[in-house]
Every structure is written in structure tokens, then in C-alpha cells.
Symmetry: C2
Subunit: 534 residues, 2 copies
Amino acid sequence: MPTSTALTAAGAAPPEPLAPNLQARRIGIDTYRENVVYLRRDCPLVRAEGFQALAKVEVASNGRAILAVLNVVDDARMLGECELGLSEETWAQLAVADGAPVTVRHAEPPPSMWALKRKIAGERLGADEFAAIVRDITAHRYSKIELAAFVVATDQFALDRDEVLYLTQAMVDVGQRLEWPQQQPVVDKHCIGGIPGNRTSMLIVPIVAAHGMLIPKTSSRAITSPAGTADTMDCLAEVELPFERLREIVREHHGCLAWGGRAALSPADDVLISVERPLSIDSPGQMVASILSKKIAAGSTHLVLDIPLGPSAKVRSMVQAQRLKKLFEYVARHVGMTLDVVITDGRQPVGCGIGPALEARDVMQVLHGDPGAPADLRNKALRLAGRVLEFDPDLRGGDGFALARDILDSGRARITMAAIIEAQGTRGFDWRDPPLAAMTHEVTSSATGAVTAIDCERLSRIARLAGAPKAAGAGVDLLHKIGDPVASGEPLYRIYAETMAELQFAREVATRASGFRVGDASDAGAAGEFAPEF
Amino acid sequence: MPTSTALTAAGAAPPEPLAPNLQARRIGIDTYRENVVYLRRDCPLVRAEGFQALAKVEVASNGRAILAVLNVVDDARMLGECELGLSEETWAQLAVADGAPVTVRHAEPPPSMWALKRKIAGERLGADEFAAIVRDITAHRYSKIELAAFVVATDQFALDRDEVLYLTQAMVDVGQRLEWPQQQPVVDKHCIGGIPGNRTSMLIVPIVAAHGMLIPKTSSRAITSPAGTADTMDCLAEVELPFERLREIVREHHGCLAWGGRAALSPADDVLISVERPLSIDSPGQMVASILSKKIAAGSTHLVLDIPLGPSAKVRSMVQAQRLKKLFEYVARHVGMTLDVVITDGRQPVGCGIGPALEARDVMQVLHGDPGAPADLRNKALRLAGRVLEFDPDLRGGDGFALARDILDSGRARITMAAIIEAQGTRGFDWRDPPLAAMTHEVTSSATGAVTAIDCERLSRIARLAGAPKAAGAGVDLLHKIGDPVASGEPLYRIYAETMAELQFAREVATRASGFRVGDASDAGAAGEFAPEF
């Protein structure tokens, strides 16, 4: 007969510890944003707790606890019997010393799991539920699988506009918030992305700052694109600056162009991106919450938002663009942000260069009034800068463009940009002889006619394969844009790469499909059906 | 100026290999169903291909290629500069020798990615699209994130009944299919799960086999429950048998009770479970596709399906039960399977034992006509066996129950079970003194009255924490069922565990909430609002 321990439900708990101590050991494995810990199969705790590989565990040391995925180790050389291996990410988060005592136990499901399940079931969530989910995401309590479930369950039209508002507020609440010096509007400009070469911010900031408005621009690095504003600015100046230094620069020059990553402006968004990226999900609700939460956290009060519209852009129909515009406006209004949404021509890349150094060259050509400067980049930047300038109550509606043009053509924008570059720490970039990658390959037209279409996605992919943004001098330089006449055999664009292997990758894909359509010149007209504002 | 390599789109490819060779090295890390490979950060290929941690890569050797997730190693002791580390799962799949040459390159997205994206966007998919998705899932081409996306995008009412049919057929097409000896109906019985102790199959198989109908039962092991039929049968006999041996047993005894895992009956389902489990998603469409694809693959032509209905069962309202029933019937009809769906009383566990040995004891008590045998288990098994027997064209409708009772009470079922146990390989289980775990704890009632409810989920959880099913003798033994009068302080159930730690885990949870409701005797009536068939 079994021996009874004579415990009763009301009896005292025995002294035996439920989660015995192990010793922490750093395992030099980089698991990116995923927390992974390692235990030996013959570790007594593995048997006692019934741990299996891929189990979610809670690891605690010194009052700090994190969640991680367990990998079970069969190789006795890797780990001692009573050691807990920590991947680099886990090691950094737990911040323990080698050999420090750690405890491991089965993780409880994240507290917001019930809310996630309701959303998966298609129910409508309230503000509290979004807050609970976003708190758990930020605390790394969601596994990859749970993150993917949240992203898919809130994709497309699965969120109504109030839910998007709740999600935005929840994302703001878990992040830091920057405070800028003066009591006045803090203006900003943002693009939803998808168009290579679209570096208007680097022109808008010096123009608007030269006018005396505060435009402390924090940008991201490229995630899926060949260059972000931060990557491009990085060619010209230091972009990773302590916040106190940025405040000083903004106080003196009214603007800056820095990387926003350090500030943890939207930590929930940083986690969500890790699953949105592999699924290439970019749903309206998540986009609005992601962008507006970051802008609020960055301290912006007035925002001009650029939604490019085109057949290979993120937004591919005017109906979709209008719906997205209204969703942005609804949420912005309820979080107290002044927003001006502009739907722009997104049928092709902006400017010529695609890749950090090539795009930096384009920007500097425009600032210096170089005759070879890309006219489309200049024009788009002036129009958007004009809209930002019109946030100035002293400016008449419609006068922004002319003022922006005056500031640019007078050289004041160039002087302000030079001052900002100097203040952030110049790289000594020479726009007349930019540091481009050494290996090149020209892709030529197989037909005679006019360029009728350029596929933004394809060109981005080719530039990335060539090494951008990691290799700053790599990328693609467009030699023709829509409407240009080309002859068969004439180069359409030039690929730049640092290594032969990268050049080959890019070339292979370009050979299969160049991303350019050359046809009858009459097909290469204006935006036509898309009819954006500009 | 950059040096041009003078390559043209039409030029010959240079001899440089795009995916240089590395050497395979087994890394003793168990990553369960996830393929993980390891590369050193300073490996030249990591730089050349721009690999980052968590990248999806294709690993090839000897004409075999698999997909895996990359972890980047910073510790030079773990791995050589030109070595590719393979986790246990990856090592097994690639089947290479230590030091064998392997190539690694960026994985192309799974071919069915476009179909997955359409489903995420809420569109309706056709048969070809489901086939493409299921092929990719089976070939391990989906990452955890993509699997989670599929599971959530097809959850709840996201699939119409034709889509469920397509998914079922696609899942059948990628698996093996068992063929049984005679040209006659192959009958089966299945329960959708969720009710602990519900081991009717172990009674139905000997009853139906004793009547001479073919019932080759393959069951799964527990996934989230404290015992599956395979775990319970494992207490009595060997359950992991080669298929040829099972055919012999079925030829001789008309039935078997084996583990179905070896046969790869529904390999796609095996992969999907790895994400459905952590999300505890069990949507109607996925349930129907999973169950019917497995039954078709197992060679069944006639199936009785048990849908338990109760407040803590998987199905919690009659409307939901009816909807699920019709979905099962629709798909079964179109795949040519004869199906009889029965909605049963799922308000509490069936029998007394919860856990492999305890449930095996209950089954043997019923087979031996022991006076202490749980009456509800006996009754439910006889009713379901009766429905299976009525697939016999020579039997009158309504005569099944009486025939089943005759076969059981005459001892013929017991004799058939003994023969099946002997044929599969007996464990010498003594049902009068079953091998239960040594440590016990009794949970007592805090009130006087009658048992009015028993929470199936709670009792399952307590039995699992006590060690079931891994520890076969662990679990919970119910001392009272709904309707029983109990006095304050009287034991409600007994927990069995092998280790003090496990007993403590289970006890802690039972102390917080026992899973029993004791109240006014008049509340503990019949199924009432649920009104199942039995």
C-alpha cells in the first residue's frame, strides 16, 4: 500500500525547496531576441520538474526573473550537471555573474493570455486588455508563437479604430518619453516606408530647423529595406548620441537626425517587429499603433505623415490609402497629436541612390544645389517641408512650399545641416566622391522604348543582396526613372557591392527580373489612376 | 572610382561557389521539433551571406536539404570556425557523419507562403492551396512563427466547411495509410478529448473484437492530458509494435490497442500540434481535419465519435456541439467515411482514476465485473460499443447496447482483452494491487452537502502536476462523483506522486482550488441544460 505523507490541505508546507539552485553559466550563443537557456538532460531538476525541450521556464536570480525557452543538452562537455546555460540575450537580461545561484521553474502563462485568446476568437478587446497584453510583450513574457498569434489575430481588419487607439496608448504607456527644451510645438515628419531612396527627412530637418521650428528627428535603422534614415545619416555623422547631448544640439540648432533605437521609445513594438518581419505582416492597425506610439514617445506634437501610393508600394489603391489616412487621423486626434497626412506618388524609388552612401550622396547634391541632384527628391522634400512649416501659426496656408524653397535655395538649409553634422560628430563624407563599394555591375535594358514602371520591392531586394545597409557603400544607383527613353543594351542601373559573392547574389536576382519595365513611351505618363497629392 | 568587374547580365557566372562547404558537427542540444543549427560569428560565410541569429537557412548534404533556424556562436570552444553545429533534431533529419561536408544558404520562403498570406488576410483558400501549405508544413518548411500564423488564421470560424474538407484531404495525402487484412468494415471509436479518465476505448475494443468486427485501434499518448489511451494501455501491454506485428494480431484477435505515433499517420498534424499546444488552440476546423485525417490514414471505414458536453469540457454548449457534429458529418461524408457522432455527458471525469495506472485499474475492474468498478465508465463504454456494433449490417438498430452488455457480462470481452494483452506483450499488471506511486495526499471537503460539480480541467492539471502520465503510477483517484453526499473534512480525492516535489506541486494547486464544488444536494441533478444523449 502507498505510504501516506499525512499532509492535509491545511498542513504546513515542508521545507524542501520547490526550485533548487543551479549555477549560472554564460553560453556564447546568440539567439537574437529569443531567450534560450540550457540544462543537461541528467540534471536532477529536469527529472523532478518534468522539463522538456522547448518548455517555457522562469529563471530567477537576485530578485530578477525572466522567461526563457529551454533547450536540453546531451553533451556533458558543454555544461555541468548543476549548471544553467544562458544564451547571450538571456545573460544580458538577467545580469548575473558566472557561477551565481539561479533558480528555474515552469513558467506560468503570461497574465494576459486570456485576453490574447479572446482576440484569437475574434472578440473585441478593451483598453485594459490591450494594456495587459502590451505589458506582457514588453516584459518578454510572450513566446514567439504567442507573439505570432497576437500579430495575426490583430491583422488586417481584425481591429476596429478604438482598439487601435487602445493599442497605441498601451504601447506609449510601457515606453520612455522624451521631453524637449522649449515650450513650443515639436514637429516631425514620418513616412510609412516601402519606397527606396525616400530620404526626404534629411532635407526637411535642416529646412524646418533653419526656420527656427523644433524638429528633433529620431529615426530607425533599416529593418527590411536597404537603408533607413539612421543608416544614411550615419554616413555623414554620428547618430548614436546620449539623449542629453541630443537636447543640447536641438537647443542650439533646433534639429537633429539621430537613431531612436537607444531610447526604448516603443519597447513593445521592438518585440513585435521580431515576428512581423518574418511574416511580412504590416497591417493598418499595427502600423498606426507602431508609428504614433513612437512619435508620442519621441515628444512630437505635430506630425506630417507621408503615405506613398503605387503598384509596388505598401499601399496600392487610393481606397486603401484613404482608409489608412482616416485611421491615422482618428487615433492621432484622440491622443492629442496634430497630424497632416499626405498621400504621395509611390510608383518608383525617390532619387537615384538605394543604399546608405548612395542616398547620402543624393541628399547632399540637393542641399548643395548640384545640377545632377535628383529633381524628384528635391521636389518631394520641399512639398513635405512646406506642410511642416505650415504648422507655424504665423505662416499662411499654402505659403509653406515657397518658404521651404527659399530656405533651400538660399543655402540656409545647407548651413544648418552642416552645423547639425558638426554637432553630432562629422564623418567627413565627401558627396562629390562618396565612399561607394568597389565592385559594380550594370544591368542593361533588353528593349528600346521608355521606362514605364520600376518595382520598388525588387530594387530593394537587389540592393539588400548587394550588401546594403550593412555595407554602407553597397546598393543600387538608378540611371533612369519612369518616363526616360532607353535603348536596348543601355544601362538601367548599377549595382555596388563589397564582395564578389554579394555582387553575384544581387546580379542573379537582377538577371531573373530587373525590376524595370521598358515599353511604349505613351504608357509612362503621370501617376494616372493613383492620383496622389504629389 | 570603383573597379567594374565587367560582368554583364548575359555574362558567364564566375566559378566561385555561392555556398561554400562547412563541416558538420553534432551538437548535443535537444531543440525538440525545432531545427536549429549553429555557426561561429567569425565564420567567413556568416559575413559573406550576411547571416544573423534566427535567420532561416537551408542546410544541404548529400543531396538532402533541410530548413533550420540559425544560432550564432561566440564561444570558440563550442565550434570550429568552419564547422556547422547541428542540434539533435537536425542531426537526425540530415543523417550525416561527423565532419561531412555541408552547405548553408539563406532559405527561400516556403512555396506556399503566398497562400498563407491570403489566409491571414481572411481570404478563402482552395484545395490546391491547402495541399501546398500542408506539404510545406510536413516538410518542416514552416518556422514556428509561420505555423502559429497558420493556426491562428484558420482558428474558430475562419474556415468554411469546404476548406475543412480540403485541409483534411491535404493532411491525408501527405501521410502513410494503413491497410488491414480482410475486405470488411474497419471500425473505430474516437473521443475529441478533454474528459479525464475517459478510457472507454479499452473496453470497446475487446467487446467489438469479441463480436468478430475488425477494430485495430491506434491511439495517441497524452499531449495535454494526464493520460492517453496509449499511456494507459502501456501499463497492461507493449504498445509500440511494428505494423506487421499489429496486422498479425488483428488477423487473429480482430482488435489491438497500440500507439499510433510510429506510423506517421498524419505528419502535418504532428507538426501543427507543436504550436497548437502552447496556444491551447483547438478550433473546430483543425479538430475535424486532425481527427478524420488520422482515422482515414489508420484505415478506418466506420467511426463512432464521442463529443462530451459539459461546463469544463472542450464543448460547452449544445449549439456548439451540434455545429461541431455537423462539420464532422459533412467532411466524413465527402471523404467516404461512415460516421456516427454521439454527444455525451461531459460534466465530470469518467470513472475514478486519473493517470495511466489508475485508469488501467478502472478498466480492468469493469472487465472483471468487480463490484467496485466505476458504473459510469461501464455504462458509457457499453453505450458507445453498442453504437459501434450497430455498424454490423446484421444487427437491428437499437440492439447494440444489449449485445455489448452480453459480451461484457459473459466474460468474452475479458478473455479477448487478455488475448490482445498477451499478443502485444503483457506487463503483468495486477489490477487488484496496481503499481501506484508511493506518496499520497488526500484533499478534503470544506463543507457538508453534495458534490454538485467537478472541474475536468482542474483535476487534469492536478494529476499532471503529480507526475502523470510520465510517472504511470501518479495521478488522482476520485473518491466521490457528482451527486454523492459528503461531510466537511471527508476526503474528496487522493493524489498519488512519486516524488515529494511533485506531490507538493499538485497539493499547492489543489489547495488553491480543489476542482470540486460541494453544495445543496438538489443542485446535483442530471445533466439538465446540457441534455446529452448519455
